[in-house]
Symmetry: C2
Subunit: 385 residues, 2 copies
């Protein structure tokens, strides 16, 4: 299953990236003001019922608008409101979606709408993959991170106490609606976290985009709509190109996890939800860059340039200390249970010259050196609100 073509339609108002996965193809629509328009959802699957899944934070902001937009198409539009946060990305909360659907007699044609950030998208997607063995779903991501990260790849999951995203499915949406106007209500810390995931695409694939980000990072933090639309579009295009060559994450797709191996260790070690995903990725990218440099793959200047952009984006450039007695040991332990590990061997995504990623293992001693260099006691989240 390959992305045969990524057709991009550009207009001042709206950009569309077509993800071509054969019978599972879908469009990503990027514009301001999409959520409130019935026309946005005209091509969604027909059904008697639709279910909006959202959380307590997003519900008061956008659920009524989305419901109004859907009511001309669906006879009944239910809303399931989940508690907010990564800490609730578990079976108990997932089951609230199933409870709501069964209580309302939802059949296997019912369409789910994920309205919220990555946690809502991942959980709603897994619920859609599993309810009666699969119902259609639509992503309406309302955070910058989820607009660039959850739009492409078909990854859905919940967490397990022993590991993040351990239980899930590959399942594609029917449509992704990225309404950049919804980013106006996003806290500055979450805009920055989204930039962490966007910055990633430079070192692994496109240094021209990295240069554009250096020029537009301030505009992005100020929520310039044109800049946001371009950043989302370009990130989604690069991700689609990578995923299209490797839908089920056997090889190349692993490069999308640049910064994630160290980042997941920070997220898990600090307790899910204390560091935002994009913050863990940001500090993780700096650590992976240092590891790349020590292996002779990039020079010190590249590490400094990446670190500088991450800092300007308002993101942490240093990791947290997970264990004062043996910090590197704690990181290694978390990284060994990562899904990407194979038989206990940690696979790092490293930069093999700016704009190109490579997946490989590294000597424990070198990894320990980098962790010791890149972590500080008391490092938390240093984002100005």
């Amino acid at each position: 299953m390959f992305v045969k073509t990524i057709a991009v339609t550009e207009s001042e108002q709206c950009q569309t990236v077509h993800i071509d996965l054969g019978e599972r193809s879908y469009p990503i629509v990027i514009a301001a003001g999409l959520i409130e328009q019935a026309a946005t959802f005209a091509a969604c699957p027909n059904a008697a019922q639709a279910v909006i899944v959202t959380n307590t934070t997003v519900q008061p902001l956008y659920a009524a608008q989305l419901k109004a937009a859907l009511q001309s198409k669906y006879g009944q539009v239910h809303t399931v409101v989940l508690p907010d946060g990564e800490a609730h990305k578990d079976w108990v909360t997932l089951n609230l979606i199933f409870d709501g659907m069964l209580a309302n007699g939802c059949d296997r044609k019912t369409v789910l709408f994920a309205l919220g950030g990555g946690v809502i998208g991942d959980m709603t997607g897994f619920a859609a993959a599993s309810y009666m063995r699969g119902v259609p779903f639509v992503q309406v991501p309302t955070t910058l991170l989820s607009q660039v990260d959850s739009s492409v790849g078909g990854k859905t999951a919940i967490n397990h106490p022993l590991g993040k995203n351990m239980i899930g499915a590959f399942y594609q949406p029917q449509l992704v609606v990225c309404d950049v106007a919804s980013l106006n209500t996003l806290p500055a810390r979450e805009i920055a976290a989204g930039l962490g995931e966007i910055i990633k695409y430079g070192p692994i694939a496109d240094m021209n985009f990295f240069t554009w980000l250096e020029e537009h990072v301030d505009a992005l933090r100020q929520r310039d709509r044109g800049a946001l639309m371009h950043a989302v579009q370009r990130s989604v295009e690069i991700k689609a190109w990578v995923v299209g060559q490797d839908e089920k994450e056997a090889g190349l797709r692993a490069i999308l996890n640049f910064g994630h191996t160290f980042g997941h260790a920070i997220e898990a070690g600090m307790g899910y939800g204390n560091w935002l995903h994009g913050e863990g990725v940001a500090a993780g990218m700096v650590m992976a860059a240092h590891l790349s440099q020590r292996l002779g793959l990039v020079d010190v200047e590249f590490v400094q340039r990446l670190t500088r952009l991450i800092e300007r984006a308002g993101l942490p450039t240093r990791g947290a200390v997970l264990d004062a007695a043996d910090n590197a040991g704690a990181y290694l332990e978390h990284m060994r249970v990562d899904k990407k590990a194979e038989a206990g061997a940690i696979r790092f995504v490293l930069i093999d010259g700016p704009g190109k990623a490579v997946v490989r293992s590294a000597p424990d001693a070198l990894v320990r050196e980098v962790i010791d260099l890149c972590c500080s006691q008391g490092v938390g989240i240093q984002v100005a609100e």
Copy 2:
């Protein structure tokens, strides 16, 4: 994804039905004594670890044999033992599989082996579909029902308090091993329940097979190996032919649910696990046959012939009373939340002349008549042990 060819290899010792689903193709091997042979599993995917998932009933009978057969191929073979029964087909029990896998550091190449009946197969399959978004799995069904029913179709699931098999995935095994010798330890009641699912294939697809069953029902109940191998093989072939034309259950596949709409109502109404699935299907087939007859699709003789074979198989021919005050109402209520219902309309699988099934709705009044005719107070399970 179609079954392009169903190649059947026959020898005195072993029969193989090849299920052709493109890159998800797999063989079903049918013979006596397969579990204990390492050669049976030679073509299974390579991995550092394998996990046998079984239950407290099957574990003492066959787990050690299977483990010994797998140990030449896998460095570590773990065993997860679940409580036995449909009542445990839930998230709490499913999570025991995830707990065991994560505690043992199982990676995304780990192979799961489902050793047991339909509940073990469905749960292990869903665990395999969901663990790290998908690991390979092998079915080793040890009941007659699961050998004919779980071998083909890729259906995996757990139950929800509001409905059976509501949460699951379509996910194909790498291999299915039907060891008819393992049926020697099966209680007579479960042999009969398996025959219920086997008898189904006559009315919906192959009246020659129905005649063969009339001639061999006693041999099957006496566990004649040759008869069992043929019954499993022919059932699997018919199911593969049907599923091959409709992998995701959009249309034709629904005919496999002959007897299941009424049967699920009995199972749910009596509490899961009190009636065996094949028992519910048996009484359900009689009810569906009566409904077919009242709609003018078959004659009374056909209904009597089907009822007689079901009786000779040691299966119930009458449904249980679910609610003394309004029994038909109770059945209708259960049938309306069935996955196969669409917007509350019940879709019945009826016999449109012997050997051919049709899926359609029926007037509530007629359905009520049939339920009143076919249910008796105090009907339980009438199988001689």
